[in-house]
């Protein structure tokens, strides 16, 4: 009987693993601790008391653009600045995401067009806009193109009730005249929506039983628009439109997108759409030719092949990187600092930080906002990936 040779403790992988991990935890923990301690010491040495007490102090600067949030100089507090910043970040991100998705899908599809000129044109678009730094593009549009060439408010470019000038983009804004009317209208619209959902379900059942197809989308759209308008009249036209009117120096009333927001949105859209277009192209090309041929062999029409075979498979490849692009767009909106649009980094990590010197708290909160958005994005991505995995066989 041989005796089992004992491994010396320092050669045992399990013991070593634990030792290494404890060591790593201690080093990292101590690093953070000393970093924190030095920072607090430094702040104290500079006479800055770290904490959140400055939230309630009145912010001594004006913010020009606060669409959903009342901000008054002399009354609003620093913490309001934080929320105004978040709100402006979200606003430009949402506007950018909508426009970049539409433009990106369009460019990505025409990139695969059988027309040589059109596909080359799309290629040039993609290669130009994704290979030039976004910051340069934002500054170019704002300082070199829009500011010098757009007219003064007096000579605004008018498109119906929309006006574009060197101060920004002015739009009419709906104003609620009659609250109960709006409530009735929304209630009626909800009923209409539920009805349409039931109709869509019936149509699906009918299709599965008889193979007859109804143009659900077009019928729903028509009903929604016509019905919505009729209900609007029925509930007593509860909205009015506040149109921008030219005052002595600038437009008054209506909604205003200031020029920095407009330039930022414009540049973000062009830049991100180039990346989305590449995703769309890659996604469509990833569906193998055999799939299309098999669909034709089964007798599916061209339209059905595209709608039922190509697009569903392409979307699986397109959507995950596109969601990452949405996150990038949101993070990139922080470049607004360069043109003076008042989003989170500009007003909070910029102006407020300069005014209060509370670097630790302010940068921490700014980073936390972006980390939350990033976590949210990865949750959505994981959820989506899991969902499409289930449908796979």
């Amino acid at each position: 009987m041989t005796e089992r040779t004992r491994i010396p403790l320092h050669r045992d992988p399990k013991v070593r693993a634990i030792l290494v991990q404890v060591l790593a935890a201690v080093v990292v923990g101590y690093g953070f601790y000393s970093l924190f301690q030095t920072t607090v010491d430094n702040l104290v040495a500079r006479g800055i008391q770290t904490g959140t007490s400055f939230f309630d102090e009145v912010a001594p600067f004006q913010i020009g653009f606060t669409p959903f949030f009342d901000y008054t100089l002399g009354e609003s507090k620093y913490i309001d600045v934080f929320f105004v910043g978040i709100q402006n970040t979200i606003l430009v991100a949402v506007l950018g995401i909508i426009a970049a998705t539409l433009l990106g899908f369009f460019i990505g599809v025409i990139r695969l067009s059988p027309n040589w000129l059109v596909s080359r044109g799309a290629l040039v678009y993609i290669e130009v806009f994704r290979n030039v730094p976004l910051l340069l593009q934002i500054m170019f549009w704002n300082f070199a193109i829009f500011l010098p060439t757009l007219p003064a408010p007096k000579n605004s470019i008018a498109m119906g009730a929309f006006y574009l000038n060197a101060r920004g983009f002015h739009t009419p804004l709906p104003v609620i005249e009659n609250t109960t009317g709006v409530a009735i209208w929304i209630a009626l619209l909800t009923v209409l929506g539920i009805g349409l959902l039931m109709f869509a379900r019936r149509a699906k059942v009918r299709f599965e039983e008889t193979g007859q197809r109804l143009p659900v989308l077009w019928i729903s759209l028509a009903v929604l628009i016509i019905g919505g308008y009729i209900f609007y009249l029925v509930s007593g036209s509860p909205l009015s439109f506040d149109e921008p009117v030219l005052g002595r120096f600038n437009f008054k009333g209506g909604g205003q997108l200031p020029l920095p927001l407009f330039s930022l949105w414009f540049a973000l859209t062009l830049y991100t759409s180039a990346f989305i277009a590449e995703n769309v192209r890659a996604g469509i090309q990833s569906v193998s030719h055999g799939q299309t041929e098999a669909a034709y062999a089964l007798g599916l029409s061209r339209k059905n092949t595209v709608n039922l075979v190509t697009i569903p498979q392409a979307l699986r490849v397109i959507i995950p990187p596109t969601i990452s692009q949405y996150l990038n767009l949101t993070k990139n909106s922080s470049l607004a600092v360069a043109v003076g649009y008042e989003e989170l980094v500009a007003v909070w990590a910029g102006i407020t930080l300069n005014q209060t010197g509370q670097a630790l708290v302010i940068i921490g909160m700014t980073v936390a906002v972006y980390e939350c958005l990033s976590l949210l994005t990865s949750f959505v991505l994981n959820w989506y990936n899991k969902r499409i995995q289930l449908t796979e066989r």
Binding site: L35, A45, P114, P133, I145, A359
Partner: protein
């Protein structure tokens, strides 16, 4: 005897002109359907209403010569490249070297050296690629430091606060990729480690830097970095930006390398284990070399993103290529020539990024076929 008639076939008729040749190509590719024809016409309309006027402005009627703005003011129909011409040294090498003509050889030599080392690396059949890359990544930065920063060998020390232009952009990007590569590799290995503590440290590090916009990181580096160190430790602005960029870039490099590591079949590591190799020898000799080879395209892609992102340092007040071009275009002598400044800077960025992306696409295709064989 009657003459023998030999059958001579008539010469082949050419295929109908609508299936071959340029006309057929045009029919198929430009006027294939009604929509396609409309698109072609629309394309021509847009092309001819924008491109010739632009070319006329940018090239034909442009001002190239002269030393001050009077030339450009005399001819406003064309672009003012005179401005770029006069300020070229500033835009490329920054204020310090532009103000000292006798020192201009330093950045020039550095760029010549860099391209002399880089170009042979791009071709497949260059012998001794390994040594070239070692020189580029190991020796070149040292040479860069001694020549551009100076302060020894009788070379006067340059002032980093006056570094700028393309030289600064280049320095930031190069330092970023150089330092981020080893850190990124370690992080990627850590993220795939079986030890939960190591793994979570790496995951938190990577996700933290990836979730934050670079501009916030640069703010952090320029405002908070001095707070993190005991009083008396001072970094200059350029070094602070370099630290921020390295942190940021290492997280992205780690993800690129992790992709490569994940693509290596498990059998490789298992075979190495069976041969009795420990973790480090297994990693350094077996898995990592293969993983790095696969991940080169994605590393190049993160590098392209970094190269573009270096322009953000202009927000924290460094005079990089973008900021230098802008500052020059806002100077008293050249006020109002923003478009030329942005276009020139944009063209330099574009040329580098486009070149790198083509290179990475080529590499990707090559690596792809390798695996299928």
């Amino acid at each position: 005897m009657s003459e023998v008639k030999i059958f001579v076939p008539a010469p082949d008729r050419l295929p109908p002109s609508n299936t071959l040749g340029p006309i057929a190509w045009v029919r198929e590719n430009l006027f294939g359907s009604i929509i396609s024809s409309i698109a072609t016409l629309l394309f021509f309309y847009l092309f001819f209403s924008y491109v010739p006027p632009f070319l006329e402005w940018a090239l034909i009627k442009a001002n190239w010569t002269g030393t001050d703005r009077s030339v450009c003011e005399a001819n406003t129909a064309g672009a003012c490249w005179t401005f770029i011409n006069v300020r070229l040294e500033q835009i490329l090498f920054g204020l310090y070297f532009a103000s000292k003509p006798e020192e201009l050889w330093r950045p020039t030599l550095i760029f010549v050296l860099f391209f002399a080392l880089l170009l042979p690396l791009l071709f497949e059949r260059t012998p001794g690629k390994k040594w070239l890359s070692i020189i580029l990544l190991g020796v070149f930065p040292v040479v860069f430091y001694f020549i551009v920063y100076g302060g020894s060998f009788g070379i006067p020390q340059s002032n980093t606060t006056q570094w700028g232009g393309f030289l600064l952009t280049f320095a930031l990007a190069f330092v970023g990729i150089l330092l981020a590569l080893p850190i990124g590799i370690l992080l990627a290995l850590g993220r795939r480690s079986e030890m939960p503590v190591i793994r979570s440290i790496c995951v938190i590090y990577i996700e933290f830097w990836r979730g934050t916009p670079l501009i916030t990181i640069l703010f952090m580096a320029s405002v908070m970095l001095p707070l993190f160190f005991p009083a008396g430790v001072e970094f200059d602005k350029v070094v602070r930006a370099m630290i921020g960029i390295t942190m940021f870039q290492s997280a992205y490099t780690a993800e690129a390398v992790r992709g490569g590591l994940a693509a290596i079949p498990k059998g490789q590591a298992e075979a190495a284990m069976a041969l009795g190799l420990g973790y480090w020898r297994r990693t350094v000799f077996i898995t990592l070399p293969q993983a790095l080879k696969i991940s080169i395209p994605s590393i190049v892609n993160t590098f392209i993103a970094l190269f573009k992102d270096t322009s953000l340092v202009s927000i924290i007040g460094l005079l990089d290529l973008l900021n230098m071009a802008q500052t020059a275009a806002r100077s008293v002598e050249w006020k109002g020539y923003d478009i030329e400044g942005y276009l020139f800077a944009g063209f330099i960025y574009w040329a580098f990024c486009y070149g790198m992306s083509r290179y990475s696409q080529n590499l990707e295709q090559k690596l792809d076929t390798d695996r299928r064989n």
